[in-house]
Assembly symmetry: C2
């Protein structure tokens, strides 16, 4: 008896649009039922694809627009000139309540700029962040920010910690997720001032999870914590370095199995086992970067993904909506803000005579004192 | 007929000192002949180890000191209170011309602080950097800085590019190494101001190699460039993320081969091939982080390495000395400085009426204009 959910899809975003978008929606239809689709884009190209997929066509509508944002468009230019683009109209649909969430495989910078402009940030959140989950030795962890904010102050990092732990709890189902701040050493003397100030604040903030302290780069793949918090520059470099190293290793593995007749035979015997490993590490499983902190759910799919990957991004968006992620963020930020206003939360290093602030969390200057 | 080289070894640095230091020196003796060793540390602990290695003992002397720098000592404290430590005396020996280089597996922060204080930076170099090489899809690349400088301006990044390309040329033997600046996108609009300013400067600087432009995290393991230039925070996170991901993959591989009887049989057949892969990826092969930009060669071994790894760090130091790395840096910095002074090198973005500077490279403010 639950109400059906409408999803806005930017049908023209991504390297193989609209084909992959439509085929991905058809796959997601089976995994996440009770969903209707609105495809924003060129009707003449979308219609023939839907014609071949009658089950999908029945739950889909097309919102025609001839405009699309190119992959190399600068965010500011896309924001100004792209008011009638498939990406922008799909975001507008969320703002207008016509869709519960939006998924796009298009230009990341343009998508973030438009989503921020149209949807606005949640109360208590200064800046949205890009988050994603990835495989670790212990299971799966989430990392944010992955590129929305090149420079972050301590307030931003603390907000990322709250959003990351709420995500772990509501979507991944971890009751007490651990949160780590990415640094270049576990010692408190190391790292940028903003990181040290954020750590001082997190040690006394009643997170939905548990603050672990500083972690280093190798802790990311080890899964030392459930939530990795960092600025968008470092997070982007770390995620791409991990992806590249995984590919390097896969390639070395391929070469190793082909390096001799015995090794080839060995591969034939171990093939089934390797099929499972490949499935576990499949990047399509981890497709779907979430824009957290906005008044609306927005998920970015990898531009080069296939229908399986795009379907995964759709299901990530559906999860955020059905688990009430944004409502929980609002509640948590208000709760933490109340505690701070009541003087119940004072960072170790904050001056006793610090003036009261309207902001629910102290800014980097105050916390750094 | 070449003169013998003296190497100063901090015998008390590292998790398994002095045993690993002495055993490592004995292994290096065979790989890099014509070298004498001076062991700085506790004579009572070093002497019995040398007694078992008569060939090494013949080319070794012990400089006794009871003091050692602990692994958790803060750099400033070590600098003030460690004047008689094994680490400090070993560095002093290089400054006094008694040794050609120093190798330590001790506290990284203390070693950098002492080396900077005692040896000073090379003419034209503002700040030293930590560099290391690592395996890639194409072979081996070098990355710097790996943690000496948490924040870097464009001048620092340009100097790292020069040092990295000189290293690639003189030590790795690449005639025209390619240099990439680590960023979060290949587009020129992205990244910190310091990175954009460094890129503008590098596009017109006559490097010993070739400036490739921006690279992203995945380009590090792919080996897209021979020299990866970045600030010490990002470099440290990237290197450790890559190391951690490699370990994650190794562990998954081990589990995969043990997951069924067929997979185990497969491993037995492919075992030889995997031995070669393991050798290629062996972290001991890449042990030895170089402190570049100092008036003296200083190499840091991983604290937990074994004799094979420590011997590798010694050979890295010997390579830097025998290939005349520091002399080439001085020549290159002077050459680039002359070109800039003569007005032959002006970054795209520099104002035409920029005042002449004593510095061989424009500072970040000038280059960022």
């Amino acid at each position: 008896m639950s109400a059906r959910l409408s999803i806005a899809l930017d049908a023209m975003g991504g390297d193989h649009a609209p084909d992959v978008v439509v085929a991905g929606a058809d796959m997601a239809r089976l995994r996440c039922p009770e969903i209707d689709y609105i495809f924003f884009g060129d009707e003449q190209r979308i219609k023939p694809l839907l014609a071949n997929l009658p089950d999908l066509a029945r739950i889909s509508t097309i919102h025609h627009t001839p405009d699309a944002i190119s992959n190399d468009a600068k965010p500011a230019v896309a924001l100004r000139g792209g008011r009638n683009s498939s990406m922008r109209l799909a975001i507008d649909a969320v703002a207008q309540g016509k869709a519960a969430c939006i998924v796009s495989a298009g230009n990341t910078g343009a998508l973030m700029a438009m989503a921020k402009f149209v949807l606005k940030t949640l109360p208590g959140i200064d800046r949205p962040a890009i988050a994603s989950f990835f495989p670790t030795l212990r299971g799966e962890s989430v990392m944010l920010d992955l590129g929305a904010n090149i420079e972050c102050d301590s307030r931003n990092l603390v907000e990322f910690a709250v959003m990351g732990s709420v995500f772990s709890r509501t979507v991944l189902g971890l009751m007490e997720p651990t949160v780590g701040l990415l640094n270049i050493g576990a010692e408190e003397v190391k790292g940028h001032e903003s990181i040290k100030a954020a750590a001082a604040q997190l040690r006394v903030t009643p997170l939905p999870g548990k603050f672990h302290g500083f972690i280093e780069g190798n802790d990311i793949p080890y899964g030392t914590v459930d939530v990795v918090v960092t600025d968008g520059f470092t997070g982007n470099v770390a995620l791409k370095t991990a992806e590249g190293t995984a590919k390097l290793y896969s390639e070395f593995l391929r070469r190793t199995f082909q390096s001799s007749i015995l090794a080839r035979l060995g591969y034939l015997l171990a093939r089934n086992a390797f099929g499972k490993l490949r499935k576990r590490m499949d990047p399509r499983r981890y497709n779907g970067a979430m824009f957290l902190g906005l008044q609306g759910v927005c998920v970015k799919s990898h531009g080069g993904t296939d229908p399986t990957g795009f379907a995964n991004a759709i299901c990530v968006a559906v999860d955020l909506v059905t688990r009430g992620f944004n409502d929980t963020i609002k509640t948590e930020m208000a709760r933490i803000g109340d505690l701070i206003a009541a003087g119940a939360v004072v960072p170790d290093s904050a001056p006793q005579e610090a003036p009261a602030s309207d902001s629910p969390l102290p800014d980097s200057k105050a916390a750094a004192l």
